[in-house]
Each structure stands twice: as structure tokens, then as C-alpha cells.
Amino acid sequence: MSNALKVTRRAAMAAGFAGAGVLVWEANSLTLTPAMQRIFRAAETWTKLAQRTLLLPGQLAREYPAADISPVFKANGTLNPGTDEYAASAANNFIDWRLKIDGLVAHPMSLSVAQIRKLPARTQITRHDCVEGWSAIGQWTGVPLGLLLKAAGIAPNARYAVFHCADNLDGEPAKGGQQSPGQYYESSDLVDAFHPQTIIAYALNGRPLDIPHGAPLRLRVERQLGYKMAKYVNRIEITDSFAGIAGGRGGYWEDRGYDWYAGI
């Protein structure tokens, strides 16, 4: 090896180790820099592309036998929206609750819980995986979201379903980070919205949804983490972009640093 090449190689090695050292030592302050955020977003995109490539659109999440249901299904996030309006609706057995479907649809809808219960239902025993690390298995009953969206007639330029909720969350201590209060909302793309196991659920383990688990209606997106599964849903907005909705990242937790694609 020529001397010049040796020197270049030595310099490259030294630069590599110096770079690694800075990365380790300055990890805290580097985390929120635009450059690192771009790299993190690229990694999220690879994960999403890899999973979307591997997963067939209709491939199902595992369903479990009734014997596997968790004795206690942990409730997390908002345990009760706590507003006067919600309390009044709950006291009235949610008789006045409406699920609106609007945005880029041909036929905007407003459905009562009773109307939704009369639609064709799907019941599934699935595992709920929280981003924090725990899992719980429960039996969910609800109407397939695809059915509602077909009835509403989504526009050709529709890209996302945004789920608006009745709860204002001020963070989850376990999740750390910036946790300003905000109205909960979530979103999915149309691949997940039309997935056979994606349902607007109104029952857990054979009983009407209780308040900690999202009464009267919540979303189930079984190939994603728990934070995607909005509770207390009262409006589904079909849209082509998240711009202009809260922080613009497509969800309460996404606006607070979490990945929009929550398949991992």
C-alpha cells in the first residue's frame, strides 16, 4: 500500500472514530437537531416501506381463542374525557352520540351508536400492543371501517382517514417528552382503513365499551400499536393531507415526536 493511501486510510479511520465518539457523547443534544430528525424519519420510512412491501394489504393480525383473553385489559391514556358534554352523554347511555364521516366523501354521514350496532359486525380476539411495551388480549366487536367508507363514497384524491376524539389528553408520564395537552386524534392511510380487521368497535369482551376503554366508539387497527387506536371517536375526516390538523403530523402522539407509522 502506498504511503499516501495509508495516510488517507488512517485519517478516515480517525474521522470515523471521532464521529462515533461525538455521536455517543452528544446523543442528547443531537436528538432533536434537524439533521438527526431527518435520519430518524428516513429510518421510519424504510420500516414503513419494508412492512408495506412484505405485508399483503389484507393480511390479518393473529386472532386468539377465548381462553387467551387477558384477565384485565389495561386501559391507558385518557381514562375519562371528563368534559360536561361527555359526562352528560355517558349519563344518557350515549343516545345522542354521533359519529360523523365527512371531508373528501360523496355522502357525508352522521350515525348514532344504535345505527352502527345494526350494521354488519365483526368480532375478533386480538392482541393490543402498547408502544410502552405491554400487551393485552381482548375480544372486540364493531363495524368494519371499510364498510362505512364505502357507504360514504370516498373521493379519488382521498389518502387518509383522520379520527377525531372527544378527549383532551395532557400526556402519559411513561412516554416522557414534550407533553402539552391537546385534543386526541389519530389517522390511518387507506390500506389500514380498508383492512378487514379495522373496525369501529363498540364492545369489548362481549360488553358495551366502558369509559376507560373508549366508550361509546373506538378504533381498532390491529397491525399497528395502541396509540393509533383512537378512543371516544366522534368524527372521521377523509383527507388528502394532515396539514392544518393540529400539529400537522397526523396524530396526537405524532405531534409529540412519535412515528406516524406504528407497525413496529
Binding site: M13, G16, F17, A20, L23, V24, A27, N28, T31, L32, M36, I39, F40, A43, E44, W46, T47, Q51, L54, L55, Q59, L60, A61, R62, Y64, D68, S70, P71, V72, F73, K74, R127, D129, C130, V131, E132, G133, W134, S135, A136, I137, P173, A174, K175, G176, G177, E222, R223, Q224, L225, W253, R256, G257, Y258, D259, G263, I264
Partner: protein, 283 residues
């Protein structure tokens, strides 16, 4: 005999030249250091992620009301908050380090202390970002290593133990206990315990990747057999943690051995590839 030869023979014996042996090829060196960096970040960010739910379970589900086989939590006691580490039926007061430790001058409810986690502050979103970025790097780097090592027969030749190696296990254990290091030709090949350790860490990293993927609800829909392989998502999370612990043990022993075997020679060989073959006393 000529005078010249005579004078040569009479000269004091020349210091024997150092014998360099090209021990690690470039791909091995490169993947070794990338692997080391990735594992450092994955361990530290993994502990931050662990802190978001500092309990481990066995089985297909597990949350607060299910029995944990390991937990690191803070509890209010008469003597104030204490950090308690529980492993099976045993409870240890680990206040100050595990469960309840100081961050920026104030005690906080944290399973692993800030000086072991990346980032140092508690944030699941940021920790996941570091974790998945380096998970990609680890997986791709590991794939490069495995494909290269199998096609060049590095694994088969240098790491897979030979029958003679297996017969030499007792002697090798004794050599390690007595800190006897091989010299000459023997120093040019990995001893049997080294082979086990390197095979072991290859298996552990593979387990890390597979159990990590098993925790992904998306991957589970794609290959549900992973859930069966590891006994469920919570078991996979526990195996992920135990494998990481064994990797920490490997790194510790690895570094101790580097120091004992001659740190300059060992580190140089992983930087330039060249290893000075130690000479035996009999030479």
C-alpha cells in the same frame, strides 16, 4: 570458511524480526466496529424504552395486573420512595441506581438511571428513533457480515470448532484460568472458547433481531410463526432483554480478554488487520 562468514557468526544474535500475521480482513474489521457502535446505541436506547414499561412477562400478554417475572419500579414506603428491583420471588432495594434515581439533581421514577440510557432524559419517542435507526444498521451490517463470512468460509474455517478443538476444551479452560496465552502457530487461530464466544454472540445478535421483530404487530401479521417460536410477544420481549444482558456479558469478557492478551496488539489487529504473533519462551 571465509573470514566474512566467521565474522557474521561471531556477531551478537540479531533481535528476531517481529512476525506480522494478517489476522482480520477489511470486511471483518469494518463490520466489527459498526457492530460495536450499533450495539452500544441499541443497549442504551433499549434501556430508555424499557423505562416506559419497566416490567417483563412470560407469555402472549402482560400488563400491570399480570405477574411480572422481572420489574424495576419505585414504591412509596414509610421511609420515602424506594426503587425496588424484583426478580421472580426476590425483591432488592436498589434505590439510587435502579427504580428511583437522580436526574439533574432530583430523584425521579426511572427503572434505569439516566447515565445508562440514550437519550439521558426519559423520552420513549426519541429512544425509539435511536433504537430503530441503529436496528437497521445492525441488521444490514450483520447481514453483510454473515453473507461474507459464510461465502469466504470464515465462519466454517475460523469460528466453527473442529473435533480437535472440542477435545481441547478442558485444556483451553485451564489456559484461560491460568491466563496462558497461545504463541507461535497456535496464536494464529482462535482457541475453542473464543470460537464458542463468537458463535454465541452471532446467535445472540440474531436472537435480538428476531425477538425485536416479534414485538412488531406489523411483522407478526406477516410471519405469525415468530410468535410461536418465542412463545408470544411478551416472551419475545423478555428474551430480547435476556439476550441483551448476555451480550453485555460477552462485551465485558471480550474487553477483559483484549486487555489480558495485549491491548495494543489486539486493537491494532482490528484496525489494520495485522497482528504480531507472540513468540514462545522456547524460541
Amino acid at each position: 570458511m571465509t573470514a566474512a562468514t566467521d565474522s557474521h557468526a561471531a556477531a551478537p544474535p540479531r533481535k528476531p524480526a517481529r512476525e506480522f500475521f494478517y489476522r482480520h480482513r477489511a470486511v471483518i474489521r469494518l463490520t466489527h466496529w459498526i457492530n460495536a457502535l450499533a450495539i452500544l446505541f441499541l443497549l442504551a436506547s433499549g434501556l430508555n424504552i424499557f423505562n416506559a414499561h419497566p416490567r417483563l412477562y412470560w407469555g402472549i400478554y402482560g400488563a400491570d395486573s399480570d405477574p411480572a417475572f422481572l420489574s424495576i419500579e419505585a414504591f412509596d414506603t414509610a421511609a420515602g420512595p424506594r426503587g425496588i428491583t424484583q426478580i421472580g420471588p426476590w425483591h432488592f432495594d436498589t434505590t439510587g441506581i435502579l427504580g428511583w434515581s437522580k436526574y439533574m439533581g432530583e430523584y425521579a421514577n426511572r427503572a434505569w438511571p439516566h447515565w445508562l440510557t440514550i437519550p439521558g432524559y426519559q423520552d420513549l419517542a426519541d429512544a425509539r428513533h435511536w433504537h430503530f435507526m441503529f436496528a437497521w444498521l445492525l441488521a444490514l451490517n450483520g447481514l453483510l457480515y454473515l453473507v461474507w463470512s459464510f461465502t469466504t468460509r470464515h465462519v466454517q474455517r475460523d469460528i466453527w470448532p473442529t473435533p480437535a478443538d472440542l477435545r481441547a476444551v478442558p485444556r483451553s479452560i485451564l489456559d484461560h484460568i491460568l491466563l496462558r496465552h497461545p504463541t507461535g502457530e497456535e496464536a494464529k487461530r482462535y482457541n475453542v472458547l473464543q470460537r464458542f464466544a463468537y458463535l454465541g454472540v452471532i446467535i445472540l445478535i440474531t436472537l435480538m433481531v428476531l425477538t425485536g421483530l416479534t414485538m412488531s404487530p406489523g411483522i407478526d401479521a406477516f410471519c405469525p410463526w415468530l410468535l410461536d417460536l418465542f412463545g408470544g410477544r411478551q416472551s419475545a420481549r423478555t428474551i430480547h432483554f435476556l439476550s441483551a444482558s448476555l451480550i453485555v456479558l460477552f462485551v465485558f469478557v471480550h474487553l477483559v480478554e483484549v486487555v489480558l492478551a495485549g491491548p495494543i496488539n489486539e486493537i491494532r489487529s482490528m484496525l489494520t488487520g495485522n497482528y504480531v504473533v507472540p513468540k514462545g519462551d522456547h524460541k
